[in-house]
């Protein structure tokens, strides 16, 4: 939690650092929306997360915060429970998933992938070209009612894209592992650049996989 900021308990007016429950009267407290996801789980600000610890803390916190438990409570309690649980769920979803955690880490560094990041990452140019060509062939074949003949080729392409996707995910995992050792010193900007590159590759590969899947589905339904 953010120990620098003091907040006032809605029930007993006790002043305390940001916590989930008032240390004085135990009432549920509404978290500030800008609280960072790691601190929600009382985890160190480190992009490498022990999934077992994360999940067990998520369950533990859900058992204390969930709106089901405040159904008979006051409107303040209900609101705090609803908003905190929404934040908890968002934080868990983000930290549990490698790619989302990577994106969140990038945001914490004050950076962001462009919303409409449609430029093909240079390292993927050859692959993207090949896939697009294949997809065009499939569309043509389907138009000529020869859909089933090309679905096998499409499957091969998919394996190739999937392999490249997994490779980028591994790069991301390695990149995140290195952040713990930087302590905010030099080397950070190179890591940041690599993080950005591999996240944008992953985003692009996902779109590509979706296009391939859509095309093969269309061929099946012929």
């Amino acid at each position: 939690m953010d120990y620098a900021t003091l907040v006032r308990c809605w029930r007993c007016a006790d002043e305390h650092p940001v916590t989930l429950f008032c240390p004085h009267c135990q009432a549920i407290q509404q978290l500030l929306p800008q609280v960072d996801y790691f601190s929600v789980f009382d985890l160190p600000r480190n992009p490498v997360v022990d999934e077992a610890v994360l999940t067990s803390r998520y369950y533990e916190l859900s058992r204390r915060l969930h709106p089901d438990l405040y159904q008979t409570g006051t409107s303040e309690e209900k609101e705090a429970s609803l908003k905190n649980t929404a934040l908890l769920n968002r934080a868990y979803r983000t930290l549990r998933d490698l790619v989302q955690r990577g994106q969140y880490w990038l945001e914490l560094q004050g950076e962001q992938l462009g919303r409409d990041n449609n430029r093909v990452p240079p390292a993927l140019a050859a692959l993207v070209f090949e896939v697009q060509e294949q997809l065009a062939d499939v569309r043509e074949a389907r138009a000529a009612n020869k859909g089933t003949e090309v679905t096998a080729e499409l499957a091969t392409v998919r394996v190739e894209v999937q392999a490249r996707f997994e490779q980028s995910c591994m790069t991301l995992e390695k990149n995140l592992a290195q952040w713990g050792n930087t302590n905010g010193t030099s080397g950070t900007s190179a890591l940041l650049q690599q993080l950005k590159t591999c996240l944008s590759e992953i985003a692009y590969l996902r779109t590509l996989l979706r296009d391939v899947d859509k095309e093969s589905e269309a061929s099946w339904n012929g």
Partner: protein
Amino acid sequence: MERIVGIDLGTTNSLIAFVDGDAPRVIADPHTGDPLLPSIVAFSEDGQTVVGSAAQAVLAEHPLTTIQSVKRFMGLGMEHVSAADHRRYRFAEETGIVRFAIHGRQITPPEVSALILRALRERAEAFLQEPVRKVVITVPAYFNDSQRQATKDAGRLAGLEVVRLLNEPTAASLAYGLDKKEEGLIAVYDLGGGTFDISILRLHIGIFEVLSTNGDTRLGGDDIDQRIAERFLLAGLPESKQHDPQVASHARRAAEEAKRSLSLTETTSIVLDVPEQNIHVARTLTRRELEEAVDDIIARTLGPCRQALKDAGLEPREIEAVVMVGGSTRMPLVRRRVGEFFGRTPLTDLNPDEVVALGAAVQADTLSGRRKDMLLLDVVPLSLGIETMGGVLSRLIERNTTIPTSAQEMFTTAVDDQTAVDIHVLQGERELVQDCRSLARFKIPIDPHPAGIPRVGVTFMIDANGILNVTATDLRTKRERSVEVKPSYGLTDEEVERLLEESIDFAETDVEQRLLIEARTEANTVLHATDKQLRQHAALLHEGEVEQISTVVKTLQDALQGSDYNLIRDLIDALSTATTPFAQRIMDTSIAEALEGKELSRV
């Protein structure tokens, strides 16, 4: 602590349950002992309504004014109504939300559902001897926001506070998990009368975590009945007869009966008898024929199963138990197909009709604060997004996100002195707005400033019911801005209020009337049952018994013409007394028949 009860508002049948001590139990009809209330509402010309088996009894005769499977229409617009629906009912309008045209009145699906809820409420109040005000109502997991909102409106119209909308497969998993004390990954396959859901859950020390859900809100036993009726009963008839509502209604009823018996036997007879229209079709039907005719309908459930597993990141073999819910899972074909898909025998030992209501009662107990050892973590079934330039959907909340959840977006103005921002919210998985389901349009007022200066933060919060709430804040002044909601396929708040006022007026002026209607309804049910037994088991009647019973029947029928509900009630009791020895003999005989042919040691 105020009691909260659980309601399964089903397509075919509805149930109400509560927690009795520690265990959930369903409240049965006090007279028939049947836990199921058929979800059928009949409207008579004089504005009266009957619900349940009494409505079922008049269904074939009055198919246009007796609403069945109303759940299929909840939260829909007229553009979603099929050609078959158009043949079956009369609708008041061609556009906008669904409104049935009944005896010159317009009646919306939430109003019909409210009548079913009211009947259940009265059943529970009579049994518990206390007012029932708060309820948990179950909905298909794959219900979208409009369908959920319509269900909530139905609760309000029935004078109930809907404390929570609970997903049906999740409710079933609760009843299952508490009953079996199991942990691990389970799949709940829920094929009901009109809807299909598949949910994948992780059960872990009292936490029921939904990992993913999928389904089809217009797929169920009704489709199977329709197919049997078309294929085996209607096919040989002239087209005008096939589409005749009365004929079609009889055919569906016969199809349903044949389907039920083919779950137990290999061969059955199926009969369509409408003497008024000179129609008589009779044939035998084998289970194999039935299965061939409906296999493609069952197969349609497997796509959603595949998608749900994919979304949960699991393979079929990783599922440790498959729980079957909904009456349609009694079909051997369904059990076989599901078993093949998951590579394991599905669990069928829970009563598939009752398990959802029981789970709802358990969750109601938790929400009332009495139970603290379990927690449900459910998800939103469909992605939620807003319309952006060029009719493209910008997704804010992905499907299968755990609820409650929220997303923030910042909006600004495009022209000088713009005084409002319009936001169009949709639900669905496709990229283009035209392929997704419109939920609502929100208008957010803005103080006039040069373009791009205003900054409005909009929060989209999906609560624990899976229902969207939108709030807006002016980021410069930090002031909350009001949000004006136009639901795409729902009743506006004003409309709900108006209907509510009308129904309260009705309820308060007509307590006597209601008691009379109830007594009449019950009398009709009892008379109907007596008549059937007399015809079926004539051989079991003793001398003089027919005359004795007939006298009471006649007196009761006469009393039905009058309005003395106390007299009607007394005569119902008298009839029951008169038929008791006869009923006893029927019971004895059927037990004897059931035992016949079995070895004594196995009895």
